[in-house]
Symmetry: C2
Subunit: 163 residues, 2 copies
C-alpha cells in the first residue's frame, strides 16, 4: 500500500507539471480545513506502518516527525519506511498476537489490547484511513487516479480470462 | 467498521436537521464528479463485506444492488449486512487461507489468488477504501465527525491512565 501511495504522489506531480502549478500545493491540500493536509496524511501513514511493526515486535515506537514539504520528500519518507519494513524478519513477530499492547492517548488515557486486536482494530483501520484520505485529497484535486493505482499491488494476479 | 459507518451517517443526519437541509443531499455528495457518491460508497462497503465472506467460505457472491437513496435506507443495508456477518460461524472459514479465489473483472480479465492473499490484498484495501471515502465525503461536507467516530469499535479498550 505504501508503494501504491508513492505512485499516487507521482500522478499528482504529473498533473502539476501538465497544468503548470507547484506540486507543493497538493502537499498542502485538505478535504476540510481542520483535517490533516496531504503531506501529514502520508507522514502519518508511514509512522503507523513503522510503529505498528515496532509495537508488535516489542520495540519502542519511533518519535513523530515533521511531514515533508514536497512530493520528493514524501516519497523519500515512504521509501525509507518500506526499507525499514523489509528489514524486519518474519520470525520477529513470533508471539505478537498475544503480546500486551499499550497506546498512550491524549487526555491521560491509555488503550490496552492484545497484539491480534491491535493489528485488526487499531493498526489496519488507522493505516488505511490515512492512505485512502491521501488518495481522496489527490482525487478531489483532479489528479487522474483510479482503483488500479490504489490497488497497484494486485497487478500480478490479474490475467486475461481463459488463461 | 460497519457499525462505525452507521454512526457516521447518524452524524450526517444530525447536521442536516440542525442546518435544515435534506439529508439525501449528503447521500448524493461526491468528492469528485466521477467518483461514487456517499450512498454508493456505503452500498459497496456492505457488498464487499458480504462478498468477501462469501468467497472465503466458498459461496457465490451476492448480486450487486442499487444503493439506498436515504440515510435510513443506507443504515438498513448496513444493519442487514452486520446481521449476515454475525450469522457466519467461525468454523465455516476453515481452509479459507488456501482456497483458490477467482474474481471476474471488466474487459475479460480475471484476478486469481489464494484466500489469504485475497483477504489481505483485495478484500481489506477495497473495504477500507469505501468506508474511509464515506467518512471523507461527510467530513468534507462539514459533518462533525472525527477519529473517535471512525474508531468507535475501540472505545471499550480505552481507559484513564493509571487504572
Amino acid at each position: 500500500m505504501l508503494g501504491n501511495l508513492s505512485g499516487l504522489l507521482d500522478k499528482g506531480a504529473q498533473l502539476a507539471q501538465t497544468k503548470g502549478f507547484d506540486p507543493a500545493v497538493l502537499v498542502g491540500a485538505h478535504l476540510a480545513p481542520d483535517m490533516f493536509a496531504l503531506g501529514r496524511q502520508v507522514q502519518v501513514a508511514c509512522e503507523l506502518a513503522r510503529n505498528s511493526v515496532a509495537r508488535l515486535t516489542g520495540q519502542a515506537p519511533a518519535p513523530a516527525q515533521e511531514p515533508g514539504q514536497t512530493v520528493e520528500e514524501l516519497k523519500g519518507t515512504i521509501a525509507a519506511t518500506i526499507d525499514y519494513l523489509h528489514g524486519i524478519a518474519a520470525a520477529t513477530f513470533e508471539g505478537a498476537d498475544t503480546r500486551d499492547i499499550e497506546i498512550q492517548l491524549p487526555n491521560d488515557r491509555v488503550a490496552r489490547m492484545t497484539g491480534a486486536r491491535y493489528l485488526r482494530d487499531w493498526a489496519l483501520p488507522h493505516f488505511y484511513f490515512h492512505v485512502v484520505t491521501a488518495y481522496d485529497i489527490l482525487r478531489h484535486n483532479g489528479v487522474e487516479i483510479g482503483k488500479p493505482n490504489y490497488m497497484a499491488h494486485i497487478a500480478d494476479a490479474i490475467q486475461p480470462r481463459g488463461q
